[in-house]
Amino acid sequence: MSRIGEYEKTIIVEPLEEPIPTKEIPKEVPVPLKKLKKNL
């Protein structure tokens, strides 16, 4: 362990959310114009 030096202490880190990006980046799905008109 010479590269990171001598051991000092142990800590526990429990993040509320793990720092991992989501599997898919959510993208805005374009709504077709026809569907948009029907809903109006």
């Binding site: 590269r3 990171i4 051991y7 526990i12 429990e14």
Partner: protein
């Protein structure tokens, strides 16, 4: 992780570490991977990496031992990582070799973490960003965000076999070598241009490319 223990922190620790770039020669989408610099292991995209005990092969969940040599290691600061890099370069110049495809960046650490003088050994980790690459020709640490560079796949038989056990990797995965803007003219073969390298890693791991603190300090002077 034992739920009975009261956590010291509820946000991940940020460390600095070196990775190596590996890639799929067959030009698939997002062909590049980050791999360990000392072990024949690829880092999984969009999944945490968990420390394993090299002796028993078992997971360390909940029981990472203080003096066990494993754990995912990282430096506390860019400065400590830089000092290690300079030492490794000095050794590399003597024995004419450096691990090809080396990059430096930030890593998020959590779980049970052993804190050392200059760094950490963690139970869980995920890459956060990349800032610098190491040129295989001049061994210079260059800024990934602002400088041009290229990647070419490692060619066997050239004598650069550092911590690389081909049997531990899928057959199509090869180490990559980076070459900085000053040395690009030395080679004829280019497998991936700078933008392709960065885009592949950003997309695969969901990470950022950040400006090097070294460059920031020079620009702010």
């Amino acid at each position: 992780m034992g739920k009975s223990l009261v956590p010291d922190y509820i946000t991940p620790i940020t460390g600095w570490r070196f990775w190596r770039i590996f890639g799929n020669k067959s030009k698939t989408a997002d062909p590049l991977w980050l791999g360990s610099i000392v072990r024949s292991q690829l880092w999984p995209p969009k999944e945490r990496l968990e420390a394993e005990c090299g002796e028993s092969g078992s997971s360390h969940t909940g029981s990472l031992k203080v003096y066990c040599k494993w754990g995912i290691s990282a430096y506390k600061s860019f400065q400590y990582a830089l000092e290690d890099f300079n030492e490794r370069v000095a050794k590399a110049r003597q024995r004419l070799g450096f691990e090809p495809g080396t990059v430096l960046g930030k890593v998020k650490l959590w779980g049970k973490i052993h804190q050392h003088q200059y760094g950490y050994r963690a139970q869980f980790a995920y890459p956060f960003s990349l800032v610098s690459g190491v040129c295989i020709n001049c061994l210079r640490l260059f800024d990934l965000k602002s400088e041009d560079f290229i990647l070419r796949y490692f060619t066997f038989g050239s004598g650069w076999l550092f911590h690389y056990n081909k049997e531990n990797f899928p057959p199509e995965i090869f180490p990559g070598e980076l070459m900085c803007s000053r040395c690009i003219d030395w080679i004829a073969e280019v497998d991936l241009e700078r933008d392709e390298v960065l885009s592949s890693l950003e997309k695969k791991y969901g990470i950022e490319i950040e400006e090097s603190p070294l460059l920031s300090s020079i620009l702010n002077k």
